[in-house]
Symmetry: C2
Subunit: 388 residues, 2 copies
DNA sequence: TAGAGTTCGTAAAGACTACAGCGATATTCG
DNA sequence: CGAATATCGCTGTAGTCTTTACGAACTCTA
């Protein structure tokens, strides 16, 4: 089926087992040789040889024996998660957020810079560069030790990493983030849509960790969607999967206007805070606000129903700025979906806040690293190393 | 990530290489040891050992040397595709179609029985049993030598193989095909939606062999869809993926009525043939017929646009009874999609005819067999054998 | 404090696999 | 009929994992 008729060599066998040990070690507390032997199914002497090799290549460190119950205390071995790092960047309308994580996926530092929504591309890119530089500075990590970068932007992303079709960021359609970052970094760099990244984050650390089929709906001043099918993020052939909002019959573009245009919003409240005010008023019982929220949710439900009917997911996750008010939205949304769909999935509200896009970017960057380490199966036991 | 921390054994190595040889042999003309050595990357002596083993287990047969160019003529080895067979069944409204294929996927026989659309479930099941029995009879294949069965039915299929949500076949929602066939066959039996199977067939032997992201639209007296994403059929969490037609704003349920209710259809033409008459008239230039076709296509386009925007596929395949008139539909459909979508995929018309569902069923059954043979990677080098 | 019990670390022997190389064999070509 | 060519079958070598065994290190108990 696939092109690679891989006949397996003896040397490859050792590589496979070495990787097997690494997998058994990753993201786990320090383990003894016997524990690893049980996990991998290999014999103790074998595992020992593998571990010695991994120590020589600096993938693994020794933790000297702590107190044990009985018998000779065992040396414990630990995956050296700090062998490499990945970078996740969220380039949003109001802010830029750069996060750094080690190979275990634990975030070690993050830097946030505010950006004006109408800032031109060069200003925005300067904020990005500054945030990245500060994060590297603080963590004392050299750019060459960043193994993968993922960048989140708004709008559908094409294969080259640009958002030529459409983006709400002014002037951004002519920007090529891969090229820009490529001057400073020589690792793989990918750009991805923010909704898609948020969906990935929900499956990684959010409310949908148990699900393999997820529809993530961004409910905020913008409305969008990200799809995870069979445990994998789906981009579509042209990177435009989930853009159901482009269908005019789906009123996603105008949906937030129900909130902004709600009668009774005081003059003093700016346009960006109007929605929050309406949700607060609705929770307090204001009839006009309640109507506005209901109308908004009904519009949101039409597009959601189209996604649900198409994909029949296990979970719908409500994210974005309005997810804090999910208690007001969920019930109406569920009723509408029951009316429109064959089978209604679970509805859950995101709790990740505005770090979700950067988190998803980290996860995708880690996936990229994993692919090169454990990946294609060809010839890569150990991998990307740069002479410091 | 996955549970199986599989440490690889020496015996497993031999299994892997044996499978590698089988893969290099499958669906190919008889090959020599040297050819196999090149394809698998293994050495000649190694391949020879593998092949001897496979011959002993009757997976492979020897073809005695035919004329060669020069040098000692090499024995050629051939995968014994007739070692097992799979069964694909299409249970449709008007007909029942049973097909048998060998392990290479070449269809060896098919039997078709007409069924009245309003036939009750027991009558339909009798037709199914008869078709299967005749196919086995003709090919002299024993039921125990059928290694997998896939059945296609209309309506969304749940995990147990029933169509409890909805089906146009009268009384069928209470039928459990897996249980029914399980009395006669002990192999894996799966039931799948007909649109989904047709989609699989298009990627296997139809017009979408080059694509990994496919939206298949069934355009006929019924309207439906099947989705292939990243090369794999997507069922959805509850098996109801692609059922966008359930959305009332998508006028798929009533779309064919534009054709049936077209003014000018002669009394003599029955309701089943009205659509064909309208297409013929439209091709001849009849204005009323052309309007009817345009209206039908516009309704078809709304749901298709929702699918396309959600998934951003490479190809949209038009199948079903109306695909013979795709020349009348394609242009209008493309124009509508250009109006509604961000990026318009290729539109292709199916040429598989009414065997597509049974073909897709065969492919899924073969996939099931492959999974057990090459599959999960645990301990299965050779596999399902029944003492005859 | 000494000995028993337990577990770890490491070394040697055994079994199996794949690979490289060589002579024997079978066919075609001149 | 001999030369050329390519396959076939066999033997020895290198590499890997496993099993077995024994010394080392620590805890518990008397």
């Amino acid at each position: 089926m696939t092109g690679a008729m891989t006949g397996t060599d003896l040397a490859r066998l050792r590589e496979l087992n070495s990787l097997s040990v690494v997998r058994a070690l990753r993201g786990q507390p320090p383990a003894t040789v016997t524990e690893l032997a049980q996990r991998t199914g290999l014999s103790r002497p074998s595992v020992d040889v593998m571990v010695q090799g991994l120590i020589a290549e600096e993938w693994v460190t020794i933790v000297e024996p702590t107190g044990s119950i009985v018998g000779r205390p065992a040396r414990r071995y630990q995956f050296r998660a700090s062998a490499g790092h990945v970078l996740g960047v969220d380039i949003g309308g109001h802010k830029v957020l750069a996060m750094i994580a080690d190979l275990d996926g634990t975030a070690v530092h993050s830097v946030r810079h505010p950006v004006a929504p109408d800032a031109d591309p060069s200003t925005r890119l300067e904020a990005v560069d500054a945030a990245i530089a500060e994060a590297l500075e603080y963590t004392k990590i050299h750019p060459a030790d960043i193994w993968a970068i993922t960048v989140g932007v708004t709008g559908p992303v094409d294969a080259s990493g640009r958002t030529t079709l459409f983006t709400p960021l002014p002037g951004w359609s002519s920007v090529n983030p891969v090229e820009h970052l490529g001057r400073r970094f020589s690792c793989p760099i990918q750009v991805e849509n923010d909704c898609k990244l948020a969906a990935v984050a929900e499956r990684w650390h959010g409310v949908a960790q148990d699900a393999d089929d997820i529809v993530y709906v961004l409910a905020g001043m913008r409305t969008g969607a990200g799809l995870i099918i069979d445990g994998t993020l789906r981009r579509g052939f042209g990177g435009a999967a989930g853009e159901i909002g482009a269908l005019r019959a789906v009123r996603w573009l105008d949906a937030p206007s129900h909130l902004q245009g709600c009668p009774g919003v005081p003059e003093s409240v700016g346009p960006d805070d109007a929605a929050a005010w309406v949700f607060a008023a609705a929770r307090a019982g204001d009839p006009a606000a309640k109507t506005a929220v209901r109308r908004y949710t009904k519009d949101l439900a039409v597009g959601t129903a189209a996604l649900v009917l198409t994909l029949d997911p296990q979970v719908v996750v409500i994210g974005g700025g309005f997810s804090r008010s999910a208690d007001l939205i969920s019930d109406v949304l569920r009723r509408e979906l029951e009316r429109l769909c064959l089978r209604v999935p679970e509805i859950r509200a995101s709790t990740l806040g505005d770090e979700s896009v950067a988190l998803g970017a980290l996860r995708l960057a880690l996936d990229e690293v994993d692919l090169r380490l454990f990946g294609a199966g060809l010839s890569a036991p150990v991998a990307p190393r740069r002479a410091s």
